[in-house]
């Protein structure tokens, strides 16, 4: 019972597919984690992926920039099939920003140096120019005053905002978020989610693995519920998260909101 995605885009705008996943399978040893995923994401869309832990949602996200190599199936980014082996992976990855659950800031570099690293090393921009770009991005995420601090001097929420700035520094077309608020204390989640909402409003294409249902309902255009390696239900978040049509999603939401199995 798969519900078609609701298209919330104003009519008349041409849509460009920026992510296209076809029949994606991924096994770790004998365990099949993804069992045939199809997904298309249009430019400017915000897609949230929800599901139980171990359902394969993070693996799906990690297949999009080939941090995991799919066992079979294809992934195309901006029209280029990256699973074919002929594409320039390094070039494709520059167009995809990624934000991790545990931030993964470089601890030996200051906040601004973390943000400079992409433009300076990967894009080959001059150091002064990279610094200007980085300080503009830190300002955007509200952390100009923390530019010269090392990651271990920042709070979790600040670290994640620096990580978002670092990903944005490569001027990506697509942003991937892998449970960006899961390792944050409740009172720190808000600042990260606000930053992400801002990004969505600016038209960034975002794919977000998250348990934040409020964020999903208010910001996302589409929610994807993955269970046991397949897309069980998808549609507009308001629709499927309020009135799930499958038993699995009903059960998942129950556990999420009330912490118990019905």
């Amino acid at each position: 019972m798969v519900v078609e995605a609701a298209d919330s885009r104003p009519e008349g705008l041409p849509s460009t597919v920026v992510v296209e996943v076809r029949d994606l399978h991924k096994s770790f040893g004998t365990v099949e984690v993804l069992k045939g995923i199809d997904l298309e994401v249009d430019e400017g869309e915000v897609v949230v992926i929800v599901g139980r832990s171990g359902s394969g949602k993070s693996t799906l996200l990690r297949c999009l920039n080939l941090l995991e190599r799919p066992t079979s199936g294809s992934v195309s980014i901006l029209g280029e099939e990256i699973t074919s082996g002929r594409s320039n992976l390094f070039k494709v990855r520059r167009q995809i920003g990624m934000v991790f659950q545990h931030f993964e800031l470089f601890p030996h570099r200051t906040a601004i140096e973390n943000v400079m690293e992409g433009p300076y090393i990967v894009l080959g921009v001059g150091k002064a120019e990279a610094r200007d770009l980085a300080s503009a991005l830190l300002e955007k995420v509200g952390l100009s005053h923390r530019a010269d601090q090392y990651p271990n001097q920042l709070s979790g929420g600040e670290k994640q905002r620096v990580a978002i700035a670092r990903a944005l520094a490569l001027n990506p077309r697509i942003m991937l978020f892998d449970e960006p608020t899961s390792s944050l204390d409740p009172e720190l989640k808000g600042e990260v989610l606000d930053t992400m909402r801002q990004l969505a409003l600016e038209g960034m294409t975002m794919i977000v693995v998250t348990h934040e249902m409020t964020f999903a309902r208010r910001v996302a255009n589409r929610a994807l519920f993955i269970d046991d390696g397949v897309v069980v239900e998808q549609g507009h978040p308001e629709d499927i998260l309020r009135a799930p049509s499958t038993e699995q999603l009903k059960r998942f939401l129950n556990v999420l909101f009330w912490g118990e199995n019905p």
């Binding site: 920039n65 941090l67 390094f90 070039k91 494709v92 990855r93 520059r94 995809i96 920003g97 990624m98 991790f100 545990h102 993964e104 800031l105 470089f106 601890p107 030996h108 690293e117 992409g118 090393i121 990967v122 670092r166 990903a167 490569l170």
Partner: protein, 223 residues
């Protein structure tokens, strides 16, 4: 009789130039074998981390071969066996330096491998996701962090290497230990000669060990 043993260090002045030359040879062995084994260890350690079996498997066998057999045996084998097998006869100094380098590279490769592994996958994934090449990830992300953890074991190994330079006496390299034996034979002052020899090793290793301890202390404060 032992209680009134007559200590005699009068030979020192005459033998000092010889000891000095021998000390220089020992230091040369330490520096050459140190640099070579670190360079080899870095490459082998990186290879051990490879996911491809045909890269890591032969390297693993190679490393275990040198790690699990006595260095003395390796020195003798390389000096005497290599000419038999290849027809190439290396001077004792070169053969000894190569043997020590191979032996220590096996241990250093483990230090480098463990140092990289101690960082966890997340850091290299963060670099890779930004579009860094594998080399850029190592240079910009992994090694600047890992080197801090590797320095104490590396300096420890170098202290050991200083002591192991004495093993080259077996193939007749005129390093400190070898020369001390000649001086003993000439002066019949075996005990005094050995004490002077100990001082020479201490003069090399005490500063090295001091640096190691300082680095170790600095690291524990930072993290």
């Amino acid at each position: 009789m032992y209680a009134n043993y007559q200590w005699d260090f009068s030979w020192i002045a005459d033998e000092m130039p010889l000891f000095g030359m021998a000390a220089w040879i020992s230091i040369k062995i330490l520096l050459l074998a140190g640099v070579l084994s670190l360079a080899m260890g870095l490459c082998i350690g990186q290879g051990l981390l490879s996911k491809r079996w045909y890269v890591f498997a032969p390297l693993r066998v190679w490393v275990e071969l040198f790690r699990l057999t006595p260095p003395l045996l390796q020195i003798v084998l390389i000096y005497f066996l290599l000419p038999l097998v290849t027809g190439l006869r290396l001077p004792a100094f070169e053969a000894g330096v190569i043997a020590l380098s191979l032996n220590y590279s096996a241990f250093f490769s483990e230090v480098f491998r463990a140092g990289v592994l101690s960082l966890g996958k997340g850091q290299s994934e963060a670099g890779a996701a930004m579009g860094m090449t594998a080399f850029q990830v190592l240079k910009r992300v992994i090694y600047p962090q890992a080197i801090r953890r590797m320095l104490p074991p590396i300096t420890n190994m170098l202290v050991n290497l200083t002591k192991d330079t004495s093993l080259l006496t077996i193939i007749g390299v005129a390093e400190l230990f070898n020369v001390s034996q000649s001086v003993s034979a000439r002066s019949f002052k075996n005990v005094e000669v050995l004490l002077v020899l100990a001082v020479f090793y201490l003069v090399i290793n005490v500063p090295l060990s001091y640096v190691a301890n300082r680095l170790y202390a600095r690291q524990t404060i930072r993290i």
